[in-house]
Symmetry: C2
Subunit: 471 residues, 2 copies
């Protein structure tokens, strides 16, 4: 064991104190963290110190016995401190223990105008300081849960031997025409080079062609599923949509598993297991954070999540769902009939009022779904599935893919697609085609669902929305 | 337990057969996969079937007892098949067991001109078919190891209670001026809107300002480290550099941990533990793939990796390293002297010839390092560290960050930086500043190091390099 000169070797995480309290009680230890509050009287003072490793903070008590006692009362909220002292059990107090400090060193002080004073701040205000808001209870909980949920997803798929594939972000194709795209270029916009016929001369661009930011990794993912059988992607995707809503961001993360030798039923079973796994993982690994959401953000959250984790998801075909919804058309802004796409109001009605749990809606009319979805024997619908959850609406969209070369080509012809861009995709139907399926989970919607947070801007560290790209 | 109509319920993964052979031997089972080869004589035939779940394929034997025997001989390489039959131990053969098929159903045939016939293909050729190359041994192994290495990284950090942060991809700042950037825009390049003074009118762009693809998530990561103490990023980064080398890609993934209440020593200990963890995880979880690399790609790979995992990394200051290198200046294209940046040839000489293991080089001249690195007491060098590994050179670059507001501002002034872009970053030094440190690991270089693959294009599913953005 080599000797370390590292700063950290003497420090104990607050998490450690709560997990292995017996081991530390009565011992002299050193804890570093940030001051959430500092209150004091003549003879004693209390620092609430959070070091980011645990949701519950540590109470540090200072008194006349503490070194430089007279200076500690003026430590500002937000300051970074290193406190040394004995950890003492406090069976009669709210917190289980406290640190009785022999010294409190100021690592870096804060100022009286620190924006996060101990009071309630509006979400709108906190959005203006994304570099600081993770220091509040709400955002500490949100971003911890976000991190755990991301890990739960990796864990779920890796335990099932899925291969994680990094599909490309910069793309030369428009994928599936799924949405408005951002262009990526190194051309000088002040002086765009033009060809003789006055068009942009993309041969001068970095890739020698027009390129965009991806809206989905699915088509690339399919190519790897035809090698590994089970794959998933987990990466950023982009939509340049001018929609200023609580559910849309220009940059967000998606999970797109793809499974070969599989049909729509396999797809739904995978989606259901995955959602349940994520929920259970987060409930187990962030109990304090989830209690916080349940109490302050979304009452009933934990019960609802347990309900989802413990029960089978409902299933209904689009056709049957439309029959149900049409009976309630008086309630909707957009009236439903067979062939119309379902709006969020319809989706939420189905999952919240009709089924009161998550529901898979399957077999949509081919006209309202993407070209690559497998045509059902009825010739009218495709093997698509949307998973709707209470409070959100659609959280997952998936399908069995058209694996028949001729049918896929026919559909692309009907839609007038530029097939030269899809040679690679057609190759998958020429060389060892398999029944296969997959889905996409919008990660931010998943985090909103897990936390009860109502605005996508509040579950992304540095959100990008139309007109907003700060820090 | 509800009854499933799913296609997969009857299928057994090849991995299962190898992991739990006893459980399946003598049983009738069904396996789906792709045909790697099909050889046959009058009375018997052999399909080598790989289903992507395991590196070693399954041998499927068909004979006159197999349904439609006379049709099976013409199954093309690349075809997807579903074979049913009894798993039989073959103690005298090369493979431990085989499937004696009662039926082989063709899920999707291939064609005689399938590009991946059973012969050696050049890497250059395989790069032209990124949608198919994962079906070869080499790329099956590469992308499996890539997936496992990615998971190992998450596992390492999550087990240590680090918070995974998704830093933004689209950015309004130029981060640290670390490299050439791609511009992101929704403006029509055929008709770029201009302001009255003839400049691009970015108020018309999606975000109302000029935006680029990020070159690093570090500065954003630092803001979260000052809330959570321990964070890491793992996401794509971009460089629009016109360098057509075996080690540069325009789009690649980076891991950037950041730790608060920590110094350069903590940083190095973290980097060393992480690299060792990844190596051990991959050696344990992909033994067949690693044997393959060791045999066919890079002889000595496994021994070298074990050597790294089992020994302490060397440490040397830049100043001492320069003294060593200057004695060998006759060997180098670029001559070394104090103040020059180290080139790959110098880095490899240090790690391969001098230390014969990974080495941390620390305390570089401030002039050749980034503005945010902490000034050492000597006033000349900064608390930077590069980790050099044999066969690659620099794999990790990190530093302790300048946490002193005045010193950081002074350095930015010296460099003539636009400080208005860095208000958020300066805030971290105003409100509870801590000693803190971090590093960046280029994920592709890490995968090259783990596999012995010599070209970055061969460790990325769909590589993006200058002039190349296919599929």
């Amino acid at each position: 064991m080599k000797e370390s000169k590292a700063m950290r070797q003497d420090l104990v995480d607050v998490k450690e104190l709560f997990k292995n309290t017996d081991q530390y009680t009565g011992r002299t230890i050193k804890v570093a963290g940030w001051v959430r509050s500092n209150r004091n009287s003549k003879n004693v003072g209390f620092l609430v110190v959070n070091d980011g490793t645990y949701f519950t903070p540590l109470q540090v008590v200072y008194s006349a016995d503490t070194k430089d006692f007279d200076k500690l009362g003026s430590i500002n909220v937000g300051a970074a401190v290193i406190a040394e002292g004995k950890l003492v059990a406090t069976p009669d107090a709210k917190q289980p223990f406290e640190l009785q400090a022999t010294s409190v060193d100021i690592e870096g002080d804060s100022t009286p105008d620190y924006p996060l004073q101990k009071k309630r701040h509006s979400m709108e205000f906190l959005r203006t300081i994304p570099h600081l808001r993770a220091r509040t209870n709400t955002f500490e909980a949100v971003f911890k849960v976000r991190s755990l949920a991301a890990y739960a997803i990796h864990k779920f798929f890796q335990e099932r031997n899925f291969v994680y594939v990094h599909t490309p972000l910069i793309t030369g194709s428009d994928a599936e025409g799924a949405g408005e795209m951002f262009e990526v270029t190194t051309l000088d916009l002040n002086d765009v080079p033009k060809t003789e016929d006055g068009k942009v001369d993309y041969s001068k661009d970095f890739f020698g062609k027009e390129t965009n930011l991806t809206v989905s990794g699915q088509l690339n993912g399919e190519t790897f599923a035809q090698a590994f059988k089970n794959i998933y992607t987990f990466g950023p995707t982009f939509r340049a949509e001018d929609s200023n809503t609580t559910r849309h961001a220009a940059e967000f993360w998606m999970i797109e598993p793809e499974i070969a030798f599989a049909d729509l039923e396999d797809d739904m079973e995978l989606a259901e297991s995955m959602l349940k796994y994520i929920i259970n993982y987060v409930l187990e690994n962030a109990p304090a954070e989830m209690e916080f959401f349940n109490k302050f953000v979304d009452k009933g959250l934990i019960e609802r999540l347990h309900n989802v984790a413990d029960n089978d998801f409902a299933r209904v075909t689009y056709t049957d769902a439309v029959d149900i919804l049409m009976k309630h058309n008086d309630k909707f802004d957009y009236k439903v009939s067979w062939g119309t796409d379902l709006q969020t109001e319809h989706e939420r009605f189905l999952t919240e009022q009709v089924y009161k749990r998550p529901v898979f809606v399957t077999d949509y009319p081919k006209e309202i779904k993407a070209f690559y979805m497998k045509l059902n024997p009825d010739g009218k619908t495709v093997a698509a599935v949307d998973c709707l959850v209470p409070g959100i609406g659609e959280i997952i969209g998936g399908s069995q893919r058209e694996d028949n070369y001729d049918l896929l080509k026919k559909r692309m012809d009907e839609l007038g697609m530029d097939e030269s861009q899809y040679d690679f995709y057609m190759d998958l139907r020429k060389y060892g085609s398999t029944r296969h399926a997959g889905f996409g989970l919008g990660f931010e919607r998943c985090v909103m669902y897990l936390t009860g947070m109502g605005n996508i801007r509040d579950v992304i560290p540095f959100p990008r929305t139309v007109g907003n790209c700060e820090i």
